[in-house]
Symmetry: C2
């Protein structure tokens, strides 16, 4: 069997799928840039990979001359320190691998000399600010670990994914996930921040009433990257340190309790407050960072018809929430302009999608099927089967009848309806590989 | 002479003018709503009353049946507690007044029974978010104090104006003014927060190179009043208390030093950072408050031609500041969307007005004379004598030549060019009274 390394014609590959996630208690600021160790804990909801996910095929063969990677079909460099960290950490934990059927046996120590081909594909636009790097690094680490027979538990893998992209560690689990910052005093050569890992608070079945709607705004400004942005916040924002030390620890405990007890009112008020505080800290940075910038605001602008003024999605949600006496919908914005709206159940989600489509109808010539993506069953509940149904939606009940309502046609590029989802999974079916099983190159 | 009160045909009046002011270290949050005691010190620049001021005529006559007030020609109610506080506090400090020429003698104790007519006029739009209440209450208190021969020094008067509108206390002085929050532990019936007063840090001659340009944006949303907004921030923002206790005290000391030494670099970076932090705290409020809202952003949006993206005035200023290696212009935004830009000298102000007019030309059919108000000598320095000159302004030097520049025509309603100015003054000339000297009614 040792001949495996002498024969050059075999390729061993693994394909996996990983979800993206949205933080409801935000990660903003690193205490160690290289290891990617955060200044506070964070909590996220994993999004259903049926609607938003990365699929990655990793392959190994003695015929490969170098490590190579293709993202969405285009070759990208693996020379960056983040990719190198992940590859190094995974390789160092590799074990013997045997594929009896193919007659392949890779000894633990061979992994250092074998090269990898990696192909990765996002089922959503990479540039849309939908945490593609979180899903991507989670999937890379997960699939490589499977390929190399790495025996570490998921939490340990999350600490490796973290070194690719901080929030990637949270995509190693489904449902509701906490990224523990780890002990600040334990950073040393020995620990390497290895206690800064993701832990699952509850799986996706725990609170499966939740419905998540993402509004992807049409026009995108050039934004400050979150790596640069959080570095500048750490260096210049006086409020960030107070937030990380005094505010977040309490909110983490409250959010854990809200999730545990499925207390949507607490969940929503914590999520909204924490999103706002994250953007407040960005504004407190010098120079200030506007993620909820003008393009975002303009695209998601509502007309508040009760006083004739124009309000943002946030203000509208607050208004609706007050109208209904308790929070109906939680909102959260990441380092970009897209709104992520979380409804407690399908009933409220139905009302929400009706409102969103009323205020933000698509530009003409857009098909409903390309304007509302993901779980389209909400559309059915809302009685919307075609663009014609969108055009005749009546104004929401909280709007006074006698005031004309302003619409923001074309401001939202598309909506994605989703829900809490599962963590990474392996694809058994070889037809789903992204690399050709004969050549090891992208299909 | 005692017959003064028996003869009913006399009217005694005083007319005064008071400036508005712009905070460079912000006041946001009260520790006592009734007395209007702030949770931190603040520092402002008094704006030249030639360009922005309130003029107030106060009159007393035994023929007046009740206290009455007219603002910009329209009668308004004096029943609110803020007006009542100011009137009560001033009346309680009134002294004997004698006008030998008119044969009038008012005894100290008569003031309680005499009624007042008050007429007030702003030389700028009241609704434009330009601190009209600061100038208004400062002028009311100052003119009443003159009328009633109140002998308290200006600082004591500022504590009365403060009870009308917090920031009004800073308009009792010219130049650079600090509003001391006062001792938190001294609130009692005895002190009444009487140590929360304005003090002049330097008069308007101390740093008379500064040029101030206010961009008044065209469309205004309904905004959260600052009274409501700061109450909600005090109640809900975790960051506000850290700001007031830990951040502002240091900035106050640094700003005092920057003003004392005319260190524009420090002045600008402190003013910008504090404006940003104030708006950050607003965003950290539940529900969040957006003063620099979409309308503001849209109106003052710049096209940043170096990367093709659109930036806000703030970002543009940061960019320009970095281009020139040190802060050229300070910006500050109050509880509204208007930008207040402070240039260190006329040379920079000339470059600034050229840029502002390049990016934000007026809608067609606007005369230059109604688009740039205040000190028009800056226009002359900039070589701009007509709208034709505005239309042919070349792109700023920091913009690459080969990229077309986006303009935001009509986004700014008008600019006001001004400078640091003097405090309240008395008008000796009777022709400038706002009340008819015979009837005591608005002219």
């Amino acid at each position: 069997m040792e001949g495996g390394l002498n024969k050059k014609d075999w390729i061993l590959m693994v394909t996996a799928q990983s979800p993206t996630n949205i933080a409801v208690i935000k990660y903003w600021g690193k205490r160690d840039e290289t290891l990617i160790l955060p200044i506070n804990d964070s909590i996220s909801v994993t999004l259903d990979p049926n609607h938003l996910c990365t699929t990655t095929t990793v392959a190994v063969s003695p015929s490969f001359d170098s490590d190579q990677m293709w993202l969405n079909g285009k070759e990208i460099s693996l020379s960056g320190s983040r990719y190198q960290s992940c590859l190094r950490e995974i390789r160092s934990r590799a074990n013997d691998v045997e594929d009896e059927e193919k007659g392949i046996f890779i000894k633990k120590e061979d992994w250092e000399n074998l090269h990898l081909h990696i192909a990765s594909f996002n089922n959503f636009p990479t540039a849309a600010g939908l945490a593609s790097s979180a899903a991507g690094f989670a999937c890379l680490v997960y699939s490589l670990a499977k390929l190399m027979n790495v025996k570490e538990e998921q939490g340990k893998l999350s600490a490796i994914a973290r070194q690719g992209s901080g929030s990637a560690c949270r995509s190693l689990f489904g449902g509701f996930v906490k990224w523990a910052m780890g002990n600040v005093r334990l950073i040393s050569k020995d620990t390497n921040g290895s206690d800064s890992i993701a832990v699952q608070l509850a799986n996706e079945m725990h609170w499966d009433d939740l419905v998540i709607i993402i509004a992807v705004v049409s026009s995108r400004q050039k934004e400050t990257s979150s790596t640069t942005g959080m570095r500048e916040s750490v260096e210049t924002s006086p409020l960030l340190h107070y937030r990380s030390k005094e505010v977040v620890p309490k909110r983490i405990l409250q959010m854990e309790e809200a999730i545990k007890t499925r207390d949507f009112t607490s969940f929503a008020s914590l999520a909204c407050a924490d999103s706002n505080q994250f953007h407040a800290v960005c504004l407190d940075t010098s120079p200030p960072i506007f993620y909820m910038n003008d393009t975002s605001h303009r695209q998601v602008l509502f007309s508040c018809l009760q006083d004739g003024s124009q309000l943002l999605i946030i203000n509208y949600m607050e208004k609706w929430n007050r109208f209904e006496a308790m929070p109906q919908v939680a909102y959260t914005f990441d380092a970009g302009p897209n709104a992520v709206l979380i409804a407690p159940n399908r009933k409220v989600a139905t009302l929400l999608i009706q409102r969103l489509l009323f205020y933000f109808p698509p530009s003409s010539d857009t098909e409903l099927s390309s304007f509302v993506l993901g779980d389209k069953s909400i559309l059915k509940d809302a009685g919307i089967g075609s663009m014609k149904d969108v055009e005749v939606l009546p104004p929401p009940a909280e709007i006074k009848d006698n005031i004309p309502s302003q619409k923001f046609r074309g401001d939202v590029s598309y909506f994605i309806c989703t829900r809490p989802g599962k963590g990474p999974t392996l694809f058994a079916d070889e037809s789903q590989t992204l690399l050709d099983t004969k050549t090891g190159l992208p299909k």
